[in-house]
């Protein structure tokens, strides 16, 4: 099994980051994410938390070595559940691949929380556990190594892509709240 962990700070407050999270895709840095669908969503009336279940469709090129084992289909599906607690300012997400699990299992946990020292920032913690499946147990080392590299690459473009989404979000939010200024020339 290979493990991955990274911590990153976004220079935006948590509410904005949690809202932008729902509009992360599409973004030009992550062309491999094809579709995102919500399967379930509900608010717990006692705790006030929002739980969401989603399925994410990904089109990822598979190294030709692995493609010979798997076949040519590059469309994969990921199952994600998330919980948002607006009182503690926590967004937690867990996801796991639905397809290719006889080759590989990637379990990812993500958390967005208000930065403990700066409420204007959001801390992003991403962890993953990558294990080769039964089909390739003899080559588990290389399968996990290749997958970890791919995961790190995707994590990096994911962060860059989300940064751009956040920038656009701020611009849109400001545009909505800006008072309309008259551009007409008042001189006769």
């Amino acid at each position: 099994m290979k493990l991955f962990k990274s911590i990153h700070n976004f220079n935006y407050e948590w509410s904005l980051v949690s809202a932008a999270n729902w509009q992360k895709y599409p973004n030009e840095n992550c062309p491999h994410v094809q579709h995102v669908d919500v399967l379930n969503r509900f608010v717990d009336p006692e705790t006030g938390t929002l739980t969401t279940e989603r399925i994410i469709t990904v089109d990822q090129k598979v190294p030709s070595l692995l493609r010979r084992i798997l076949g040519a289909d590059t469309t994969q599906y990921v199952h994600e559940t998330s919980t948002i607690d607006p009182k503690t300012k926590t967004l937690s997400m867990k996801s796991k691949n639905l397809t290719l699990s006889n080759l590989l299992t990637i379990e990812e946990t993500i958390e967005y929380t208000e930065h403990p020292e700066d409420p204007q920032q959001t801390q992003f913690t991403q962890q993953a556990a990558i294990s080769a499946g039964s089909l390739v147990s003899r080559w588990s080392g290389i399968v996990e190594e290749l997958s970890l590299k791919r995961f790190k690459d995707n994590a990096a473009v994911g962060r860059e892509g989300f940064c751009k989404v956040l920038e656009r979000f701020v611009v849109m939010a400001e545009a909505q709240h800006k008072p309309v200024s008259s551009t007409t020339d008042t001189t006769s």
């Binding site: 509410s15 949690s18 809202a19 729902w22 509009q23 895709y25 599409p26 994410v33 094809q34 579709h35 995102v36 669908d37 919500v38 399967l39 379930n40 969503r41 509900f42 608010v43 009336p45 006030g48 929002l50 739980t51 279940e53 399925i55 469709t57 599906y77 199952h79 559940t81 607006p86 867990k94 796991k96 639905l98 397809t99």
Partner: protein
């Protein structure tokens, strides 16, 4: 806005997403957790579930749900069950 795995579900999805995003920022984050957009969600989800079934993903999803034990009132597998969220 992202598209749906079912191309013909995308329009329903984007109507729902627009409603949800507005609710999330203007109500939920400000402490009003009364659910909205339920009718839009029902139509959109029904379309997606048909697509997942056609693609054979529904069985994989059911297996994965057993592990994640999604605590929803409706698993989405039932036919036209009331959405009590």
């Amino acid at each position: 806005m992202s598209s749906s795995v079912g191309a013909h579900c995308t329009e329903l999805k984007q109507k729902y997403d627009t409603c949800f995003n507005k609710w999330y920022s203007e109500k939920f984050l400000k402490g009003d957790t009364t659910p909205e957009c339920e009718d839009l969600f029902k139509d959109y989800r029904a379309c997606v579930m048909i697509t997942l079934k056609e693609k054979g993903i529904d069985k994989l999803l059911a297996e994965s749900r057993k592990e994640t034990q999604f605590p929803s009132a409706s698993s989405g597998d039932e036919e036209a069950g009331p959405n009590s969220a």
